[in-house]
């Protein structure tokens, strides 16, 4: 991990609420892996003061891509940055997803910006010859951004949205069971929705399929020193406090406490 001043190669709006950003990452020394994130300085003033964490959306040879939802002051400032400008990214941070060579097929359940986080994993799975089945959930069809990217990684994609009235938990449960009944899924991955994570955690337990989840929490330092970003893990019968930025953001789906 390191704070890098990287050149913005592109930063453009891709839907009503989402933007896509590409930076020149040739200076990044560390190996960047799916599930990890960068803590990004949005502008160069003290307003916003804190960095904002963003998952890596796509990892390429000399570039990194991020997909972000415009939410508040920080992400708004990000949209103001233009191609050619410099942006300060601190990372890569956190524990990545882990795939096993033996995995044949994995299932991704992503909602909203969680799609960005899981897209990088689908890319890696594809490179490892692992097949991906993905359920993407979003408010509108317009927000289902990474569909094409996922298709290009050979993923089988199911889409549900509020707009179409298909994104309720009950419907997702049925789709999940249908997939699990018809595919031999080795590993589950989820990101972006508490309700869907609870659902997947339950089904994973029922069916004995291990899973991983990428969590979000408000962060101070992003490097494990401030204890801002804690959550609870249930392990060997006891609750443990862990840090999302350092011990995560990827945790075992079985262990995470989704209270």
């Amino acid at each position: 991990m390191k704070a890098y001043d990287l050149k913005l190669l592109s930063n453009r709006q891709v839907s009503a609420r989402y933007w896509h950003m590409v930076v020149d990452a040739s200076a990044v020394e560390d190996n960047v892996q799916p599930g990890q994130f960068f803590n990004i300085r949005c502008g160069n003033t003290y307003s916003p003061l804190l960095r904002r964490p963003f998952s890596i959306y796509r990892i390429n040879k000399n570039t990194l891509e991020f997909l972000y939802l415009v939410k508040g002051e920080g992400t708004k400032k990000l949209t103001e940055l233009e191609k050619g400008e410099t942006i300060n990214l601190f990372g890569p941070l956190g524990v990545p997803f882990s795939l096993e060579k033996e995995d044949q097929t994995i299932l991704l359940l992503a909602r909203g910006v969680g799609i960005a986080t899981l897209a990088a994993l689908a890319q890696e799975a594809n490179e490892m010859g692992i097949k991906t089945v993905a359920i993407l959930s979003a408010r509108t069809r317009d927000d289902l951004l990474a569909t094409e990217a996922l298709h290009s990684f050979g993923a089988e994609v199911y889409k549900v949205t509020e707009e179409e009235g298909t994104s309720d938990v009950e419907n997702v449960r049925q789709i999940l069971h249908r997939i699990l009944d018809t595919h031999l899924i080795n590993r589950l991955f989820t990101c972006g929705s508490k309700r869907l994570s609870v659902l997947l955690q339950g089904i994973g337990k029922e069916r004995g399929i291990p899973g991983q989840i990428a969590l979000e929490e408000h962060m101070g330092c992003g490097m494990g020193v401030c204890y801002a970003c804690v959550c609870d893990i249930q392990r060997s019968g006891a609750k443990h406090s862990v840090k999302v930025c350092q011990d995560g953001p990827v945790f075992s789906l079985e262990e995470v406490v989704l209270a």
């Binding site: 307003s47 101070g220 330092c221 020193v225 401030c226």
Partner: protein
Amino acid sequence: MTINEPDLTVDIGGLELQNPVMPASGAFGEGMDQVIDFNLLGAVVPKSITKFPRGGNPTPRVCETYGGMINSIGIQSKGIEHYLNETLPYYRKYQVPLISSISAESVEEFVEMAETIEAVPNVAALELNISCPNLKDNGLAFGMDEDITYELVRKVRGVTNKPILTKLTPNVTNIQKIALAAENAGADALVVANTLLSMAIDIDTWKPKIGNVMGGLSGPAVKPIIVRQIYQVHEVSRLPIIGCGGVMTADDAIEMLLAGATAVQVGTANFVTPTAMIDMIDGIRKYMKAHDLKRIDDIVGKVVLTNQKKVES
């Protein structure tokens, strides 16, 4: 031609530091060793430790305000055992002094912890965190009371020969009185100061932005309040002062030195710029060269008040 390098060393109550920049407790830790070389710092200050393990407060534990951040971590701690067995040994590989910040629920517990740490050779000094807003008592802290401050420091003084740094709270009517209480009780230095008790509310959800309702404000927003308190404390106390609160750059550090601080602690800036402390040391050195200043003491408390007609307010 050899350029005379300025001398950045400072003396904090008998503790010699190679430069006046050190981390603020709670905003620094082992994870940062991948980003900066701890051996370049004036000292290292791990997060405040409590006697027993503590879970800390509900999330969100941090939020932003204009030019500042509020935190209410709740001194999440693995307890002193873990500190002795894991944290302190980790820092042994560094040559710079380690200052142990301790936090406790009672005077007796402070004393007990100080006694335990007295026995540890690689702890160079003790920092008494008597200032964390204690929400049990509606934000009151030990450091808000002159007599308790005196008693607490006095008793800790009784059990340790290590330099005692007392970290004051800025949330007081008269910081000079608290500073003098700590000085008279035997403190060797004063950290001025901890965070300002604050609150922010989300006007969409109507909920406090901090899980624990209130928290401590840090960052650039608080600097002018802290500079004033450093100046006030320096007016009455002979103890070295460590300025803390909103130091983001070398310029901020120098401003605090001019107000009367001998060193500074850096918290929030580490989150914004992980290399902030190193940049700051370089910046102070450059400033001293540019102004032909030989020693840090040439700056400390040197704010110019002449020609300043003091008129009644």
